[in-house]
């Protein structure tokens, strides 16, 4: 399928990247998976800035966002994207280790679409990632795109 929107995985821990990729792989999704290692890079990708300046103008199908990130942390990325009418429609799933209630509450306050605590069990983790990928990348119908990208590129 051409023109499939990419999945943006924002994660700094290489182990988590590898495991998440393995899980997404098992879900046999055709989407590209873009990996950003910190919050600043994730924003650059979404807004096609810096190294991502040249990329195709297309929103990610879903952002899998870790909470604790170097430079700009997950909550800040979430806040920035959900505040901006142009990016508000992008589904964001917090995919994190945190079980802290305050993090969950804060995330929902900021408009997160889902909050997933990575389960310790491997099977549960695989199942969760697979379902997430399938749901957000394949099943979920995003709102119709309104107009072009802002001229900040």
């Amino acid at each position: 399928m051409a023109n499939l929107k990419p999945i943006l995985l924002v994660e700094d821990n290489p182990n988590d990247i590898e495991l998440t990729l393995a899980a997404l792989e098992a879900g046999q999704l055709a989407n590209d998976i873009v990996i950003c290692r910190d919050g600043a890079e994730a924003l650059d990708f979404v807004y096609r800035r810096g190294p991502h300046e040249k990329r195709e103008a297309q929103d990610p199908a879903v952002v899998l966002l870790d909470l604790k990130l170097p430079k700009v942390d997950g909550l800040e990325v979430l806040a920035a994207l959900k505040k901006d009418p142009q990016t508000r429609a992008i589904p964001i799933v917090m995919l994190t280790s945190s079980r802290e209630e305050t993090d969950v509450v804060r995330s929902y306050d900021l408009g997160v679409n889902a909050f997933v605590v990575k389960p310790v069990g491997f099977d549960e983790f695989f199942a969760a990632i697979k379902e997430l990928g399938v749901f957000w990348a394949v099943l979920n119908e995003p709102p119709p795109h309104r107009g072009g990208w802002p001229s900040n590129v």
Binding site: N15, L67, S97, S98, R99, E101, V120, D123, F125
Partner: protein, 720 residues
């Protein structure tokens, strides 16, 4: 003026007669110089004026013999100052009395002081004084009469010759001696009426040169109120004398002397009586003070013990409750109660909790609420208290905290006494224009109910001191608590930071171990030996359980920080939801029989309560999984101590009651991991949640025969 002597008033400088009583010898009248009528008196008066007495009242000057109408007549002369004049009073005495000067009384007085010293009780002292005064004065009957708080008088001692009836132990109503009379008795210590049938003698002229009626307050010949004379006649007495007993500055009682027939007592003898009574009063004062000091000493040792006990405990209330004997001893009470807004703790013989609560509400509603409240007749203050007069007729209360309406009460039971009144104390209605003394002195018995033994001054003081100590302790505790709570807040913050980083950083490695081991197993498994695959399985299991442990720990710590959000809800609905959730993980081939009774409503945080039920159900299912049929019961018992009681029972492996204390501890397990998996935090969570709601948990069980877990939740008015 009474006629048993005559009175002259003199200008102090010129010693010219200003006024004279109508019965004075013929020559003595206003305007005449004293030297003209009684030259013998001039020197006596001069000496009195040159050496004025420091004492109040009429002062005995000397005995003189004057020629009255050429007949020698002996008089006792007394003088005092009034309205700028010298008041001279001359009482006739017979030859026999002349012999009995003050000297004649000296040995008697000496012996009296000796006997007083040896007396051990107030009653003994009173008996001695009654005997001696009767001996000196020769009255038919001498009473020692004590006023109580309500100014009723009781006859404590009596000495008599049988001519007049005995009044010993009788009470006389306060109305017998009106308040003006009492005030007069306080100022003028001795009064005498030698003849109740006397005709009053006028003073001429009626007014002093200053134009006022003469103040006879200090006079020995002063007339008494006609009401009093009538009272004496009704009592059947022809003569009377009374001496005031002043302890400190207060009127303690009277020495009251009566004679059936008219009876004179020479001034000298009267002075002896006054002197004697004063010594008696001093001794009395010393006795009473000594008794109080002794009691104070005894109470203060009780008090310092209690203080120590209170300081040892976290709550002063525990310090008191653990030493009920001392609490009661502090006020010599039969019962006590420590009452706060929430709780009511009883010690010894007390009214019911409900009645104590009534007292508490009544007392805290008082606007002029004092620090210490005491009464010996509670039902007079609060008629409802009559219902428990047998337990609490006497109430001594201290308010420990006004803000939290906390009190300590002491109770004394009713002491039913029979009081013999010398006449009905309910005075007949007086005619509006004139006071009438009562006519009947017949003994009138009354049963006094609803009264306890009065609280003594040292007891009330001990209670007041305890209040001060308690407040001191409470204040110090509050300071300590404030400091501690600051410390706690700090360490709580640290704990939060710690748990946050555990949540983020410690969980991840365990997840990674599990994840990679699984990848190893699934993707590279074919390269591994049987043993290698076993190793990988073990790694997965171990890392998984470590991860679960971290999760459970975090949940446990969150539980403590989670704020309670209590609402009332249907317990059966909640339990049914949890039951279904629990059954989801149960293999289809297992048989579970649920027995869920009517549970009513509960007042709790639903999120937290869910966790309690979830934990208890998962436990019940886990430990009964080897039964052919698991039976799990959830029920509600009748409320206890204002709490709703719930229980979950299973027919599982049970436990040994010897380890019951370990059951609810964090990470405490009673089973091997191979037999029953788990981290041992489930019941710790249950206890923590229930305790945060103000309830408590306990368990009963027997090895091999199942277990029952109980938990309670405080009831709210609407849930009962």
């Amino acid at each position: 003026m009474q006629p048993h002597g005559f009175l002259l008033t003199l200008d102090a400088a010129a010693l010219v007669i200003a006024q004279a009583s109508a019965n004075a010898p013929a020559g003595a009248r206003a305007g005449v110089g004293l030297d003209a009528v009684f030259p013998a008196l001039v020197a006596v008066v001069r000496r009195y004026l040159d050496h004025p007495s420091t004492e109040d009242g009429a002062h005995y000057l000397r005995t003189v013999t004057l020629d009255v109408d050429d007949v020698p007549q002996t008089y006792e002369v007394a003088a005092h100052r009034a309205d700028g004049l010298v008041v001279l009073e001359l009482e006739e005495i017979t030859g026999l009395d002349v012999e009995a000067g003050l000297d004649a009384h000296t040995p008697r007085l000496r012996a009296f002081v000796q006997r007083l010293r040896q007396a051990h009780s107030v009653e003994e002292l009173c008996n001695i004084v009654a005997e001696d005064i009767r001996h000196i004065t020769g009255f038919d009957r001498v009473l020692v009469y004590r006023f109580d708080r309500d100014w009723h008088g009781t006859v404590l001692a009596e000495d008599g010759n049988g001519v007049l009836p005995s009044y010993l132990d009788l009470r006389f109503p306060a109305s017998d001696i009106p308040v003006q009379a009492r005030e007069l008795y306080r100022r003028n210590r001795l009064r005498i009426i030698p003849d109740a049938t006397y005709e009053p003698v006028p003073i001429r002229p009626t007014l002093t040169p200053a134009g006022k009626p003469l103040d006879l307050g200090q006079s020995v010949l002063r007339s008494v109120s006609p009401v009093h004379v009538e009272y004496m006649r009704n009592m059947g007495t022809g003569a009377s004398m009374s001496v005031s007993i002043l302890v400190g500055d207060a009127l303690w009682g009277l020495v009251s002397c009566h004679n059936r027939d008219p009876h004179r007592v020479p001034l000298q003898a009267r002075n002896a009586c006054d002197f004697l009574t004063q010594i008696f009063a001093l001794q009395l004062f010393a006795q009473e003070r000594g008794a109080q000091a002794e009691q104070r000493l005894a109470l203060s040792s009780v008090q310092s013990r209690l203080l120590g006990f209170m300081a040892e405990e976290d709550s002063f209330i525990d310090g008191l409750l653990k030493h009920p004997h001392d609490v009661l001893a502090l006020a010599n009470a039969a019962g006590a109660a420590i009452v706060t807004e929430e709780r009511c703790r009883l010690i010894g013989e007390t009214p019911s909790e409900e009645q104590v609560r009534l007292l508490h509400d009544w007392l805290s509603a008082q606007t002029d609420e004092a620090e210490v409240f005491s009464t010996e007749a509670l039902s007079e203050n609060l008629p409802e208290a009559g219902a428990f007069a047998d337990k609490a007729s006497g109430l001594l209360a201290i308010s420990v905290s006004k803000k939290y309406a906390s009190y300590i009460f002491w109770f004394r039971p009713e002491v039913v006494r029979t009081v013999k009144w010398g006449g009905n104390p309910i005075k007949p209605v007086a005619e509006p224009d004139r006071l009438h003394p009562r006519k009947s002195f017949e003994i009138w018995k009354e049963e006094v109910k609803g009264r306890a033994l009065p609280w003594t001054v040292p007891e009330v003081e001990a209670a007041r001191d305890l209040r001060t100590s308690v407040i001191g302790i409470v204040l110090r505790r509050a300071e300590e608590l404030a400091a501690m709570s600051e410390e706690l807040q700090r360490s709580n913050k640290e704990l939060e930071a710690f748990s946050y980083s555990v949540s983020h950083d410690l969980r991840a490695p365990f997840r990674h171990i599990v994840g990679y081991s699984n990848l190893l197993k699934t993707r590279e498994g074919q390269h591994l030996s049987e043993k290698g695959r076993h190793y990988v399985d073990t790694i997965i299991e171990a890392a998984f359980s470590a991860g679960t442990l971290v999760d459970n720990l975090l949940a446990f710590s969150q539980m403590g920080r989670h704020t309670l959000n209590r609402v009332a809800g249907d317990m059966n609905a909640l339990v049914e939801e949890e039951r279904r959730k629990a059954m989801r993980d149960i293999p289809a081939e297992r048989t579970v029989r649920w027995e869920i009774g009517p549970l009513g409503r509960a007042h709790a945080d639903p999120f937290m309560l869910r966790l309690v039920i979830e934990n208890l159900f998962s436990n019940a299912l886990k430990y009964s999984r080897d039964r052919t049929e698991s039976v799990i019961e959830f029920g509600r018992l009748p409320p206890k101590d204002g709490e709703a009681v719930f229980f979950v029972r299973d027919n599982g492996v049970g436990f040994d009651m010897a380890y019951v204390d370990k059951l609810f501890g964090v990470f405490q397990r009673l089973h091997r991991v191979e037999d029953f998996e788990g981290t041992g935090i489930g019941l710790a969570n249950v206890r923590r949640i229930v305790e945060r709601h103000g309830g408590h948990t306990w368990a009963e069980g027997k090895l091999g025969e199942g277990a029952t877990f109980f938990f309670t939740l405080p009831l709210r008015g609407e849930d009962i």
